[in-house]
Symmetry: C2
DNA sequence: CGCGGGTTTGATGATGCTCAAGCCCGGTGG
DNA sequence: CCACCGGGCTTGAGCATCATCAAACCCGCG
């Protein structure tokens, strides 16, 4: 399993991973399997890990007073999942993260984070990742503010076509900030 | 003017600034004044600087086909302003940034970015900043997806009360993703 | 076969947008 | 000192978009 992560880092950085680096990675990242709907993080808990998804799919969401789930992020293999705010500050999270499919993860515990971050290749990779993350969040915000439901759905198809066969419609709808009914109508509209 | 920035860095990092660091900062950051409505960045241009606001206020926004301005970010003294995506990738920006008040800036050009980033105190400060930025963006997205116009306005008051006397209502409305009319009605509602 | 999760369809209603008009107020020039 | 102008704010009427609620449908699976 660690092989997948080592490859991932390799492809995304200039620096090489030394043998010691690889050893550290193997030691730091704990393999973990989650079944469908099993939690990586529950609302109110402190986020103890950054998770790298080897296979499977996860969702991060909030639950409001009426019990409605609002999806904030979706992730599939070769993505990372965690609540950054809760992890870095070690404060309780307002989000829950669970597995939507059977999922294999590599978990980096908080205690190891600093040490792993000293690996040059890892840090390079992280910086790039943060950057992409930032700009895609900015984009998403722009879309939520400016675009109508239908255009947002088109953007989703363009940006993350894989999601369409990985998540059911009501999850995608929530991610887009619309209801499942509205998404259903949009899809039948555009078909014609 | 550089003094303000040096102080700012000092307050937000463990590491001390050496004399050489301070020299580099003074060399790298170009002082610049903008009058009301003068541009720091125009849509379609490549973002050449990261700007630190010494005094004044700026806004970052897009303009849609109908000429409507959609405010993405607001910033006042002791904040940073730039289009991160455009800056790091040196690609054309979809945003414009202009001064809302008379504004004094310190501009860090792209060519200096790497060198300045080698200053430990500066990098520490940046990492923290990125973090805060990330989490506040996440929050904002959450609010846009989950809260009604009125609650979003209350959140704005809570999080950035200074904005209320620094920007006119129609700018704040746009930042919240609502129209000025709606914001006006909300304000008169809650008064009673 | 029947159950359960997911999707669709329809009717109704709330929220917030659009367009249009009027108001308020500080600043400028006669 | 007043008249006027312009930017910003308010108010109202009508409308678009999307949410809500309820019911039916679809289909894979035990």
């Amino acid at each position: 399993m660690h092989h997948s992560l080592i490859n991932y880092i390799h492809e995304r950085s200039q620096s090489e991973l030394s043998n010691a680096d690889i050893q550290l990675i193997k030691e730091a990242f704990i393999p973990k399997k989650l079944g469908k709907k099993e939690f990586l993080l529950r609302t109110g808990e402190v986020c103890k890990y950054i998770g790298f998804i080897v296979s499977g799919a996860t969702r991060q969401y909030t639950v409001d007073d009426k019990g409605n789930e609002q999806v904030m992020n979706l992730a599939i293999e070769q993505w990372w999942t965690s609540d950054r705010e809760s992890f870095y500050n070690q404060t309780p999270s307002i989000y829950a993260i669970d597995a939507w499919e059977e999922t294999e993860l590599l978990l980096l515990p908080f205690e190891y984070y600093t040490r792993v971050n000293h690996i040059p290749a890892f840090r390079e990779m992280r910086v790039k990742l943060d950057d992409n993350n930032y700009t895609s969040n900015q984009r998403r915000m722009n879309h939520i503010l400016n675009l109508k439901a239908e255009q947002r759905y088109e953007e989703l198809i363009r940006a993350y076509p894989e999601f369409l066969h990985r998540f059911p419609q009501h999850i995608l709808a929530s991610y887009l900030g619309i209801t499942k009914e509205t998404l259903s109508r949009i899809r039948n509209q555009t078909k014609k």
